[in-house]
Amino acid sequence: MRFVIIGAGRVGLRTARVLREEGHEVTLIEPDETMVRRAREQGFTVVVGDGSQEQILEDAGVGDADALGALTGDLNVNFTACMIANHYGCRTIMRIDEAYREGIYRKYAAEVDEVIYPERLGAIGAKNALLGGTIRAIADIAQNLQIVELTITHDAPVNGYTISELQLPADATVLAFGKRDEELAIPDEDLSLEDGDRLVVLADFDVLSDVRQLLVGETPGRAAANAGAGGVN
């Protein structure tokens, strides 16, 4: 696919790199000379200029791009670029600078297909590292909905059960399962849950501590405390 990324800073350049590694074609737009040089040294095509100008976007090939990522730190530039790109029929992704704005742009910015707040993802990573071991937050799906990967421990109440015997609270669903040291896969009902196996679960925040207690075997107090730290908002 073809992508236009505005902003060759930390977020933009890294995104461009990941897309290129996956075989996609990326053009960057960046006004700052130092950043332009750095991106070009890494072999990227860079259009020098302001990404909120239609001419610059055209030069970068917005006309035949599949999607545009407006990833600068400047909200005005990002929003204007999305408006123009939307007009050209591009899918649009806008970076925002403060958490509270996520909801506002999701609701009101009709020109923007998706809003991203990079700090949220950074916080998920930091939280996982801090909690360590048995529980890893993968993504926040909605305000109250999270995907977590849990590692079954020896003390877990469900240790030794099969997946079909596993009874999670109503607002939780198993998405994937992996035996110790094996890849995650769609859960097979007959497999048993044992120390070191991993389950990926989609759960409402309200039941997250119950899920943790069942699968990881945390004490109720510790599970509740961890559930409180569940969100990354």
Binding site: D74, N76, E98, Y100, R101, G103, I104, K107, Y108, A109
Partner: protein, 76 residues
């Protein structure tokens, strides 16, 4: 008459509530949720410059969820 534009920076996602509260202030003609580094722009039309200050500094900044305001007085 004095016309003024007040740029409002919020610190809450409840943009609807802020806009509605701002619009209900006497002297505020309209308020819009906008894209960019401010979240809402309100237009006020009042009798005196002092009334503009009253709207921006007292009424709008008194709403919870408003972080700061910046006021521009129209000259035409």
């Amino acid at each position: 008459m004095v016309t003024a534009f007040v740029m409002i920076k919020a610190n809450t996602g409840e943009a609807d509530r802020l806009r509605d509260s701002i619009e209900s202030i006497e002297g505020v003609e309209s308020a819009h949720i906008v894209a960019g580094d401010v979240d809402i722009i309100a237009k006020a039309r009042v009798e005196t410059p002092a009334a503009v200050k009253e709207i921006a500094a007292t009424n709008i900044q008194g709403i919870s969820g408003v972080e700061s305001t910046q006021t521009y007085i129209a000259m035409d």
